[in-house]
């Protein structure tokens, strides 16, 4: 239990998707102009992450890994399909995003309208595929670890986009040198926030 909590805190603050790995930067920069939309996108990303990472982990463990198919028949024990993982992962993500979209549209129209255009865009958000690939690379044990890691990464991403949106709303009245306005200052702000987040380094529970 304790190490799950540790993993959760670590994935939010230390291994933050944006500040440590720069994943999901495209939508982070494009959608962070107002707090309201970025909160919506943050929730959608967290949601999709929690859905896709465990599925991709299951697919990886029981189908793709070297020898993973041995549960089907002993003769398949030698098979290594891991070179297919990129293709399978992105297909699972695209399909899941489509499913989630249909599901949300049916059962919660207000949420669907709030997320609107962001839902389909999530399929090409690097953070989603990134988490699946990190799970594969770091060889997390058991579905609970994967779930906690996915949730933590999602919350970390949410935190990052919500706070940069708040800062951008605040500085929209500031007198910034013209060439630095918009994109430039957002990068520098993100850098400064990343420095602040580095102070969490080494935290353990």
């Amino acid at each position: 239990m304790e190490h799950l909590l540790n993993l959760f805190v670590k994935s939010i603050f230390i291994d933050n998707m944006i500040f440590a790995y720069f994943l999901g930067m495209c939508s982070y920069l494009a959608v962070s102009k107002t707090v309201k939309t970025s909160v919506g996108l943050g929730i959608a990303v967290t949601f999709v992450l929690v859905m896709t990472a465990p599925i991709n982990w299951l697919v990886d463990t029981y189908v793709l890994k070297a020898g993973a198919l041995s549960w089907l028949s002993p003769s398949l024990a030698e098979l290594d399909l891991s070179y297919l993982s990129f293709l399978i992962f992105i297909a699972v993500i695209a399909a899941m995003v489509q499913l989630v979209e249909m599901f949300v549209e049916k059962f919660s129209p207000p949420l669907y309208n709030a997320l609107g255009i962001f839902l389909p865009l999530i399929a090409v958000n690097c953070a989603i595929l990134g988490v699946s690939l990190f799970v594969q690379e770091r060889e997390y044990e058991g579905i609970s670890e994967v779930l906690v890691y996915a949730l933590g990464s999602g919350v970390g991403w949410f935190l990052a986009i919500a706070s940069i949106a708040a800062i951008r709303e605040k500085i929209s009245y500031s007198n910034i040198p013209a060439p630095l306005r918009g994109l430039g200052i957002t990068f520098i702000l993100t850098g400064l926030m990343a420095i602040a987040f580095m102070s969490f380094m080494g935290i353990k529970i």
């Binding site: 720069f22 495209c26 920069l29 992105i90 090409v124 690379e137 013209a178 520098i188 850098g191 420095i195």
Partner: protein, 219 residues
């Protein structure tokens, strides 16, 4: 950019095609102007070598996916085009990944998940949607190479600065003389950490926009 489709044949390297190749390197740079593909751009720039390998891989994948999608553009039903594009890109990335693993294993290890993340690199989807779906194969191929080079230029610039000031090396070789260290020169450890990549990109954007004032944000 105006992409009027012309019926008559034009030379392989006509002025228009050269522009396709040159524009993305500066005035229409995918990273600093179009804001595409930043996701994987920064994490691989601690040293020059992975940055160069990454830049090459992205250029190859962009060019060939542009070419393939442009060849298929009339046969892809528009409702499922995203899936088709993702499959083409993912296949190319698998090839690149296997080649890297076979020939430059140490760099491939350093790039870790970021090779796989070329699939969701926004440059690819952006260029496929914006250019390859509506243009002939050859201009699309050039557009892919141009955007890959523009991406690579920024990557290499950031990698150069970070490796030089962060660890006093370039491409793995020591360049800062020993005497400098004895005289009290210290490597800037901050450069190796992720935040500096963001700040360097911010400064590059600042410089570029103060040179080309038409790029400045209106808001």
């Amino acid at each position: 950019m105006s992409n009027n489709m012309k019926k008559e044949r034009e030379a392989l390297f006509s002025a228009k095609n050269i522009k396709l190749l040159k524009n993305p390197v500066n005035l229409d740079n995918p990273i600093t102007v179009q804001v595409l593909g930043i996701c994987s751009a920064l994490a691989v720039t601690v040293q020059l070598k992975p940055a160069i390998v990454m830049a090459l891989s992205v250029t190859i994948v962009t060019a060939f996916s542009n070419l393939i999608i442009s060849l298929l553009r009339d046969t892809i039903p528009s409702r499922i085009r995203i899936i088709v594009q993702l499959v083409v890109v993912a296949t190319l990335v698998i090839i690149v990944d296997q080649v890297l693993k076979a020939y430059v294993y140490d760099v491939s290890k350093k790039l870790s998940v970021f090779v796989g993340l070329i699939i969701t690199n926004c440059i690819l989807m952006g260029r496929l949607e914006a250019f390859a779906m509506g243009n002939k194969p050859w201009p699309s191929f050039l557009d892919g190479i141009g955007n890959g080079l523009g991406y690579g230029a920024i990557l290499i610039a950031v990698g150069f600065i970070r490796e030089l000031f962060g660890s006093g090396k370039l491409y793995g070789y020591d360049v800062i003389p020993k005497a400098a260290f004895e005289a009290g020169y210290v490597n800037n450890g901050m450069m190796i950490l992720p935040p500096m990549a963001l700040i360097i990109i911010g400064v590059i954007i600042w410089l570029q926009r103060s040179k080309n004032r038409e790029l400045i944000d209106k808001s």
